[in-house]
Structure formats: structure tokens, C-alpha cells
Amino acid sequence: MEAHYIYISLAAVFGLFMAWGIGANDVANAMAASVGSKALTIKQAIIIAAIFEFLGAVLAGGEVTSTIRKGIVDTDLMSGDPKLLIYGMLAALVAAGTWLLIASKNGWPVSTTHSIVGATVGFAAVGIGINAVQWSTVGEIVMSWVISPVTAGFIAYFLYQSVQWLILRHEDPVARARRYVPFYIFLAAFTITLVTILKGLKHVGIDLSMMDSYSLAFLLAIIIATIGAFFIQRIEPDKKAEKKAAFHTVERIFGVLMIVTACAMAFAHGSNDVANAIGPVSAVISVAQTGIVSAKSTVSIWILILGGVGIVIGLATYGRHVIATVGTKITQLTPSRGFAAEVAASTTIVIASGTGMPISTTHTLIGAVLGVGLARGIDAIDLRVVSRVLVSWIVTIPAGAVLAIFFFFLFRAVLP
């Protein structure tokens, strides 16, 4: 029994550290465009991120956490020796954390999700046996890594095209923006709330019928869009600023939308990325508490809360600086462009979270930005960096795996 406390504390510490890292680094990608375009101040961005990352983690983070916890490794094989799963999951956490540290020291654009999945596959395949990996699930996950950026890219492409057709290419873009932006707000709010209601609420014990879910999402989205429309009507055109930049007022109207999409991005990010930190933790805890490997138990809500808190701490301590830095570098992502990328990315991510697919939020967002670029929306995209992302995408999986194998054997040798 003594040993179990060691495992649980180790897992909690590693998991918290991982969550801290996610909050410190990755959240910036979700919030930077809204800050860079001055739709939000840093302070407002931190508050929105804290609230919605936490909500996303707790309400919609369960499915992905389950996948990391018991979808990749065939836990049945380990019922004879449950400790193997504990060593493995601890090894996966440490391996992913180590790889992320190495990568960020060298400036490699690696993904937290890819690291943790690579590490989990690694310890299971080598430490336990090739059959211990549920290869069909792993195959699905890898497919989702290809599909998610592409899907986000497509959605972003069509969204930005529609903005150009409906608003930017007309002689009265301000009037048109006033008319159409509330619809985009509705669209963003509706998709996010719908997926949350469909997939998230059962984790907090509420079960709604399909019809009720749609009606509730519709109602909430109408309310949010109406509030948005109210603020949009109050925006006065700034004639002086418009002389310098004709789309100044239009961008300010889209700025209202950027507040909504920032919430959506933070929510989506929380829902998908919290699993990277607490998926392994919840596996360790459930084995350590019960002494058996069970595939039945669901993720307890307090572990999701732990992950959410970790992310928020990371955000508050370090993430604010990263948001500020990234924000100044992505000014090309003006509100009219940024919203298209963010709605596309957050929708894709939340749907992936709902189906339990652990995807890379950053890669999905990059796919969305490329989509806006293909719609001739971005002044300049550096394709060298895009290819570096592709390379690190491929390198991360074996790297995470090798490190996890090393830590797995280390833990098996030294831990009780």
C-alpha cells in the first residue's frame, strides 16, 4: 500500500508539471491572434483563457483522456502485473516532458500530443510487447493527425472566402460587416456549444436528448450572437484611422468576433490537451487505488480539474509572456483573417475531442492558417517553417518512444 502513494504522488507531480508546460507554452497559440489584433488585452486574454481552458478540460476533456489512458495500450494484457502499466505511464509522462524540453531548447516545433502518444506506444510495444499496443486505435490517431489540419484548412479556406465575398470586396464593407459578423458569431458559438453539450455534459452528470441538445446550443448561440450584435452596433467608424487603413472599422467589428473565437479556441485547447497531462495520471491512479487494471472505470472529474488547474497555473506564471511575444509576431492575422483560422481550428479540435482523438491543436491551427493563406488571405507564409513542422511531426514519435522505453526500464528497476 505504501508504494501506491509513491506512484500516485509521482504521477500527480509529473502530470501537474506537464499541464503547467501546456499552459505556459501551447495556450499562447490559442490566444495570441486575439491579443495581437488588440481585440483583447493581455489581462483579458489571461482571464478568458483561464476560464475556458478550465471549462474545456473539465467538460469536454474526458474522451481524449480515456483514449490516452486505455485506448492506446491493451490494458487486458497487463491485468497479471498491473505495476507494468504504472511504470509505463510514468515513463510516458517523463519521456514526453523530456522531449518537449529538448525540443524547446533547440527551437523545434514539436507537438505535446505527438510526444505523449509516441511515448505511450513506445513503452507498450517494447516494454510489454508488440501486442500490447492497440494498433487500430493508434492508426486512427495517426490518421487524425493528418485529417485534422487538412479539415481545419478547408473550413478556414471557405470561411475566409465567404468573408471576402460577403464583406471585403464590396464598396460598403462596414455596413456589410455589421450585417454579417453576428452570423459568424452565431456559427462559432453554435458549433462549440453543440459539441460540448453532446459530448461534455454527461461527464458532469447531465444527460440531454438529441433534440434538447440542439435546441439548447441554438438558444445559447442566438444569445451570444445578439450580445455580439449589440456591441457591433456601438462601434463608431473612425474616419481618421480609415484614411490610413480602409478596413480599420471593419477589422474592429471583426474584433468582437475575435473575442468569441478566443473563448472557443481556449475551450477547444483545454478539451484536447488536458489529456496529454492527465491521461497517464488517471491510468496510474486508477491502477494504484484499486490494484487492478480496469478498462471500465471512467475518468474521475477531480483528475480533470487537476489538469485544468495545472494549465491555468502555467498560463498565469509563464504563458502571459509567451502570449505577448507571439501576439506581436502574428499581426498578419488580423481579426477578419484570424477569426476564420480560429473558428476552423476550434471546431475541428472540439469535434476531435468529442470523438476522443488526441490531435495537435497547434498543427490544426497551422492547417487553418494555411487555409486562409490559400484563400489569398495571408501576406506571406514561410514554407520553410511549414516543412520543419512536418519533419518534427515525424521525428517526435520515435523520439518519444525511445525515451519512454528508457524510462520504463529505469522505473521498473528502481521503483518498488
Binding site: G107, L168, R169, T325, A375, G377, D379, L383, V385
Partner: protein
């Protein structure tokens, strides 16, 4: 920590191009005061303006090099990189011609013959107008990029370019008239001065020619 999202954005060429045409226009604008000083025979003052022209031409040149370096082939942009670089090149030539003209006048202390001085100043001003119109057109690049080179913004820029063409035609007419006037009085001038006077008129007229070519380059961007 290097952030991927921040790095996939290459440096946008839009603002630097606008900054470049601003410098170029300010450079060309100096010719007005420069020629007034030289017609008055105030060579100290003229030299001051000539130095200003040199400084502005130089900083336009520096910016040109900087923009070129920040536009590697790996950039994915809504319009071809080559067209933007060509635009930059013709923008820069406006400043080059300005410097050449002022150089000849200062170097030879070339006196604009009083009988054609007013007509000549008018011609210079019209060329500056062309440079200004080129600047106005290039300033719309931001909006063009945002609207994806389609729609109302394209019509607006097309209108600006048309106006630019009219100004350029006007400078051509003025140039022909000025050459005619110079021909009338050339016998009374020092022969070498007369030859250089023709050259000064020629080079000044090229300012509007280059401005018009800026318009042509922008038009090419519009057709994408």
C-alpha cells in the same frame, strides 16, 4: 522557446513597400525646391536640397535591399514574388532619376534659361504629381491584400492607375512643348549647356515614366 505559429508568418512585404514608395516620393518632391533655388542662382540652398535628395535616395536603396533579403523564395504569397520585386525596382528608379537630374544640375551649376524657367518648373511639378499618384496607388496594397485582389478595392486601384496614366500623358505633352521652347532659344545658349539642358528635361520626364511603370506593375498584381 521558438513558437511555430509565430514563425510560419514570413515578413509581410506590404508595409515595407509602402514605406519605400513614401521615401521615394519625398525624394522626388525635393526637386521642386531644388529647382527654385537653382533658378534663383542660390547654389548653397540648392546644394542643401541636393544633399537631402541624396540621403533619401540612399535610404530608399537600403530599404530596397532589406526588402529583397526578407523575401526568400520559400515564401508563399497571394501574388508572385517576382512581381513584387519588379514593383520595388521601378519604385526605386523614381528616386534614382531624381538623384541623376539633381546631380547634373549641381555638377555643372546648370542655369535653367530664364525664358523657359516657369514652363520648366511646371513640368517638374507635374512629374512630382506622377510620383505622388504612384504613392497613392501603392498605399492601397494593404487593402488589396486583405480583399484578396478582387472586388471594389480593385476598381478603386484601377481608377487610381488610370489617373496616374493621365498625369503621365500630361508630362509627355509638357515635355514636348518644353523641348520646342528650348529649341527656339538654344542658339542663344552655351552649346554644351544646351545639350545638358535637353538631358535634364529627358531625365526629369523619366520620373513620370517610372511612376507610370509602378502603375503597370500594380495592374499586373490586380490581374492575378
Amino acid at each position: 522557446m521558438a513558437n511555430v505559429l509565430a514563425n510560419i508568418f514570413g515578413s509581410s512585404p506590404v508595409k515595407p513597400l509602402k514605406k519605400h514608395i513614401n521615401i521615394v516620393y519625398r525624394c522626388a518632391k525635393q526637386l521642386h525646391e531644388f529647382f527654385i533655388a537653382s533658378i534663383d542662382g542660390d547654389w548653397d540652398k540648392a546644394t542643401k536640397f541636393r544633399d537631402e535628395i541624396g540621403k533619401l535616395e540612399h535610404s530608399a536603396d537600403d530599404l530596397k535591399k532589406q526588402i529583397r533579403l526578407s523575401l526568400p523564395k520559400s515564401l508563399f504569397m497571394p501574388v508572385p514574388r517576382e512581381d513584387l520585386l519588379e514593383l520595388l525596382l521601378v519604385q526605386d528608379k523614381i528616386a534614382n532619376r531624381t538623384k541623376d537630374v539633381s546631380g547634373i544640375v549641381i555638377g555643372r551649376k546648370l542655369q535653367i534659361p530664364p525664358p523657359i524657367a516657369d514652363q520648366f518648373l511646371e513640368f517638374v511639378d507635374r512629374n512630382i504629381d506622377a510620383a505622388k499618384q504612384a504613392r497613392t496607388s501603392v498605399r492601397e496594397l494593404d487593402e488589396l491584400f486583405t480583399a484578396g485582389f478582387r472586388g471594389a478595392e480593385v476598381d478603386l486601384v484601377a481608377g487610381l492607375i488610370e489617373e496616374l496614366d493621365q498625369i503621365e500623358t500630361d508630362t509627355d505633352d509638357k515635355q514636348a512643348a518644353l523641348r520646342g521652347a528650348l529649341f527656339e532659344i538654344e542658339k542663344s545658349l552655351d552649346p554644351i549647356d544646351a545639350i545638358f539642358m535637353y538631358q535634364v528635361i529627358e531625365l526629369t520626364g523619366e520620373i513620370a515614366d517610372m511612376a507610370e511603370r509602378v502603375g503597370r506593375r500594380l495592374e499586373l498584381l490586380l490581374s492575378h
